[in-house]
Symmetry: C2
Subunit: 410 residues, 2 copies
């Protein structure tokens, strides 16, 4: 058996970024089904949004100067020259000393530069009493103020949230080029592993629950996971099944069998799938040390530790990075960590990154993180947790009351 | 027209909780398709997890006492009495001075109380040299240590994250009773509103983009939204269409027409759907003041403001609370807010809650929130933002450097 030097978490991320590049195959999608997709092109606005000056309130379009000095005690007076209807062009201009009724969202007539809210004026027999002065531009959205024609609205690699979909729709864009969605494959190995729906366990047997947790996480990132089943500890059977699944997917996830045991075929199976092969074999992290990362051709392969909680934490850390690189998402600065204060001292070995499950609660406008006691294999430690505190490898622990980064596990 | 007193954000939440209760209709789902659902029953463990004492490492099962005093310079010696295979019961016990090989996840033989890692010992011709002492319980997960038979694992009202699905699977539970998923309906109104895929706008027209943003947010909470289309400013047509959609869904969302304008039929239409009718008409919030909340029979009705960004923020605040109450989710303390320091002074009217869109960035282990300048109607302010800072109604603004709660808009 080949041995590898254990990598730090930081080294592992660098190696992932070096090895895992976007697939880059694109497809055109209607906007309604592009939510969560990664956009594969820069989007430049081809028109102004809004296309015309709009009122943001119900009121009267005026020349702001005509209201200067108006107050409750000294109202101004303007002549009401007409009304703009919703969805119709404002045809007649607003002259000096004139006002034109305009509803919220209605078009500002030429000549007007602001709108006085109906709450601040009163129309009496064609005469408008103004009880407040307005500034030029007040209660108006100018043409192009939201999006200017020719402006770069979205750049390639952006994940489309509801607001990006909305912004695209406001430009009349109905279809968008995105990176095609990914398929991952999941295969369990181990003589002791039985299907999760096995009603009665024989002694020594373990239900295969990692597929459900891993597929659940991947679904959040927009990735479907194909279940490849369970293979026994037999090299040839494992290799054949892994190869079969590898051919159907963009990324292969293997669970179990990655510790340095006598029946560990995982590394050999992964190496058999193609070059360049394994680039990380063991990470200085707790939990999850026996993690394997590889590239077989252009496809990433992830060998997860078997313990359910370890598998989830490792997949949340490294699986997400791998799959998002593969999807083509631009690594933007998004708040995937929050900061909280830790309730207890926690020691940690320097050179190793520790991930501590915590309960989160708010007190006096701050988040506090209370460590959950329990071994790394226990799935209930994750059920009880709202987040995972990261102790980076340079640190020798954290002190009570210290601010720590927390990965929220909602 | 009937007028209502504007409510504060805090009053609005209290009224929502008073009016909107869970539907309470349940269905049995296979575990694979229960992710994100709300569980409708308490789950009590019917067996121990794990079902037997397991090793968490590759090593030798021993009586911890037999290793006491072992070190690199003064190794201990034990007799290797056999091997436990994965997935098989450990048949022979470990006696005094004995060790039995056990792989990661393998069953601990009777008599043993700990496992010494293979890295810390060496087997030579049936004799095990131990280079380290182990404590009782070290490298072992006890039967029932993860989940104890009879223990309450999950309580009714819990949203099923991947880890909850995993915990259920580890108990051999294949189906789970959840609250049925909800359907919402969305209807736009306004003479100026045209379908979002209208290629060329006539002057005064606005594309209907709110359906896409609102449906996108709802999807995140596991709720499908039916699109009811666009109705013109005609009371009878609006009422008929709203009633038709109301009959198909669990919650009706109306967009536009909720400001106090001449063509505002929204309130009348909502009142026509059934009692008790409108309970909030106007919220002291910026943006989004002209928001309407109602109950027509058992079904909530939400009248959103028309501006795209206002509609999204209002729906994120109040729509989420309404729909999660309706789904039956237990209002647990989840980190849906993070805390960040604000980069600028921001004034705010007391008595009004302000929601300021911000760019988020990390500096020195803290999040900073940098306000985005732009009027509330602008969808691009949300595209540029990573979060929304909340200034609660009691505050008269926030000072540069102050810690503020931020709703992340990922």
């Amino acid at each position: 058996m080949q041995f590898f030097k254990v990598k730090t978490v930081e080294e592992t991320f660098t190696l992932i970024d070096k090895h895992v590049k976007k697939i880059g195959v694109t497809e055109k999608r209607p906007l309604e089904s592009a939510l969560g997709c990664i956009i594969a092109e820069d989007i430049t606005a081809r028109e102004d949004v809004p296309g015309f000056d709009r009122s943001t309130v119900d009121g009267y379009a005026v020349r702001a100067e005509d209201t200067f000095g108006s107050s409750e005690s000294m109202p101004g007076f303007l002549t009401v020259a007409g009304e703009v209807r919703m969805g119709e062009a404002a045809s007649f201009p607003v002259g000096f000393g004139e006002a034109v009724y305009v509803p919220t969202g209605g078009m500002l007539p030429p000549g007007a530069n602001s709108v006085i809210m109906i709450e601040h004026c009163e129309e009496i027999a064609g005469l408008l009493n103004t009880y407040k002065q307005v500034a030029p531009g007040e209660n108006v959205i100018r043409a192009g103020e939201d999006i200017r024609e020719g402006e770069l609205l979205l750049s390639e690699g952006t994940r489309l949230r509801p607001q990006e979909i909305g912004a695209l729709a406001s430009l009349g864009i109905t279809h968008v080029r995105v990176y095609r969605s990914l398929k991952a494959g999941y295969l369990s190995s181990g003589d002791e592993i039985v299907p999760f729906d096995t009603p009665e366990l024989k002694i020594g047997q373990i239900r295969d629950i990692n597929y459900l947790t891993i597929a659940g996480l991947a679904k959040d990132w927009g990735i479907d996971v194909i279940y490849g089943g369970i293979v026994p500890d037999d090299y040839e059977e494992f290799r054949l099944k892994a190869f079969e699944l590898y051919n159907q997917v963009d990324c292969l996830i293997l669970s179990g069998g990655s510790s340095v045991g006598a029946k560990d075929y995982t590394t050999e199976v992964i190496q058999s799938l193609g070059d360049p092969g394994v680039y990380v074999h063991g990470i200085s992290v707790k939990p999850g040390k026996p993690t394997i990362l590889a590239m077989a051709g252009e496809k990433p392969v992830i060998g997860l530790p078997g313990h359910p909680a370890s598998a989830m934490i490792i997949f949340r850390l490294f699986g997400e990075r791998i799959l998002k690189n593969l999807q083509g998402e631009n690594p933007e600065h998004r708040p995937d960590r929050i900061f909280a204060r830790i309730t207890k001292n926690i020691p940690s070995a320097p050179g190793r990154s520790d991930y501590i499950r915590v309960r989160l609660y708010e007190k006096d406008g701050e988040w506090w993180a209370d460590p959950i006691i329990g071994k790394s294999g226990l799935i209930t430690t994750l059920v009880k947790s709202g987040g995972i505190v990261e102790i980076i490898s340079e640190k020798e622990g954290i002190a009570q009351g210290e601010y720590v980064p927390v990965i929220a596990t909602r």
